[in-house]
Amino acid sequence: MSTSAAKLHAQNLQAAYGDVQVLWDVSLTVNRGEMVCIVGSNGAGKSTFLRCASGLLGITGGQLLVDGEDMAGALPDAFLRRKIAHVPEGRRLFRAMSVRDNLLMGAYLRHDKAQIRQDLEHVYEIFPILAERRDQYGGTLSGGEQQMCAIGRGIMSRPELLMIDELSLGLAPRAVELLIIALQTIRKSGTAILLIEQDVMTALELTERAYVLDRGRVVKAGVSAVMADDPAIRDAYMGQL
């Protein structure tokens, strides 16, 4: 793949919490408009990778490129300006703030008021329930609605890459279905998506390419459909099915 098509490219990336190294030599690419997933067990470093890719956590080695530019030392606002949005694990809505204000926080760095208002309507179109609940506090929403609000907040920044940490964790199957439909809509508008998902089967079905992370290293990478048929993957991550 050519580097120019890469929205996000990590090369031998290292990351640590204090003295504890969590990511080792992680190389991972998300191209423009592409849908990619990272799978792996708890503690494999999936969330840590997203934290690096949104500037919440500085990297200790290797390279992180966005649109081909080195992001060493960059803070979250720099990643947002380069059109990368991060929907964090656990949604992290502003609980005592209305749904509408939560969504507007997603557009915090933007100043094009008319466009922001349009995008707000666009989010309400994708998630009609949010329009109904626009004046309610974020903390009063159900789990599925909170995830919708968090994703809506993410796309309010008009990202070219939307990173979602644990799309379906703890949500009802019906809510997950709605979220998947929404993701496909968002995808069709040209936004690349990097997905972390504990339901490996769903993740592989949804995406084009996948990376398997194990104890902080990429142990496998390839086309999702191929991986879904890989006996080793089935044994390791779908054994319970």
Partner: protein, 288 residues
């Protein structure tokens, strides 16, 4: 009916108290910093009003703007250069820092302005309101009105502006706020600046009610503290309710128990509230 008069006195005082507490509450709620400097900021605001009036003939109501602006700058600077360095530390650390800064600033004011109580005497008072049994200087009513107006404006700023949303977002979840592109250190500095601005503005308004001395800072700080506990932390409507309540309680306390017991009454109240309604009278944990 003396009680109407007492009630009116209490409400006028309470409006000013609301203004004192709003900034203190904002800083405490958003930054988790108990700003011991707040009382000294208020006194500094009073001195700005006093000197502006005595030397330049500027009415204290106009000085609200200059005192507010100047204190905003001082607050912004203190937060961005000093407190931001230890903002992640436990609350005792920031408390110690603001306590130390308060000793410094307050003693500088003692050296510069002396401890004497001074009074700002208006040359042309607005006269007084006589409403049935109630007598009230119009200047005080205007000061209360301005104090409540400022507090209301702060409330609107937090609710309806982009910066206000960012301040509330930082209060609720720093990391999520930074994921939205919010520069948390900058919002901290703006928040502390706004708190200091409210103190400076309140100080200007108080200059026509209270005698002015650096020694008053502890009293103002104590009141801000009690009002925050009364009204609930980090809520502007809470500061208004708590401020008015404390003003009225103090006024009635003064005629029933004697004015020397005003502080005793407010701190007894503090202890009772902490025992029975630790979340405050408004009883909400959210932010408005």
């Amino acid at each position: 009916m003396i009680y109407f008069q007492v009630l009116a006195n209490g409400l006028v005082l309470g409006g000013l108290y609301a203004c004192i507490a709003a900034g203190f509450s904002l800083v405490w709620g958003v930054l988790n910093v108990i700003n011991i400097l707040h009382g000294t900021f208020i006194v500094l605001g009073s001195y700005i009003a006093l000197f502006s009036y005595n030397f330049l003939g500027i009415h204290p109501f106009i000085s609200v703007i200059t005192a507010g602006a100047l204190l905003y700058l001082i607050g912004h600077l203190v937060q961005s250069s000093l407190i931001n360095r230890v903002i992640a530390a436990p609350v005792l650390m920031t408390l110690t820092l603001t306590f130390g800064l308060d000793l410094l600033l307050n003693n500088l004011m003692l050296v510069a302005f002396k401890a004497d109580y001074r009074k700002l005497v208006l040359d042309n008072p607005l006269g007084r309101l006589e409403l049935g049994p109630i007598f009230m200087p119009l200047d005080r009513i205007a000061a209360m009105g301005l104090a409540l107006l400022l507090t209301f404006l702060l409330h609107r700023l937090l609710r309806d502006s982009r910066i206000g949303r960012a301040i509330i977002a930082v209060r609720m979840d720093r990391e999520a706020a930074s994921l939205m592109g919010v520069n948390v250190s900058r919002i901290n500095a703006i928040t502390f600046g706004l708190g200091a601005m409210m103190a400076g503005a309140a100080g200007s308004l108080l200059s026509i009610v209270y005698p002015i001395s650096p020694l008053n800072s502890g009293m103002f700080l104590g009141k801000a503290f009690v009002i925050c506990v009364l009204g609930g932390l980090g809520s502007v409507p809470g500061a208004i309710v708590g401020g008015l309540a404390l003003g009225v309680i103090e006024s009635f306390g003064a005629i029933w128990f004697g004015p020397e017991h005003a502080v005793t009454i407010s701190f007894t109240l503090l202890i009772l509230i902490l025992i029975f309604r630790p979340a405050g009278l408004m009883g909400k944990r959210g932010f408005e």
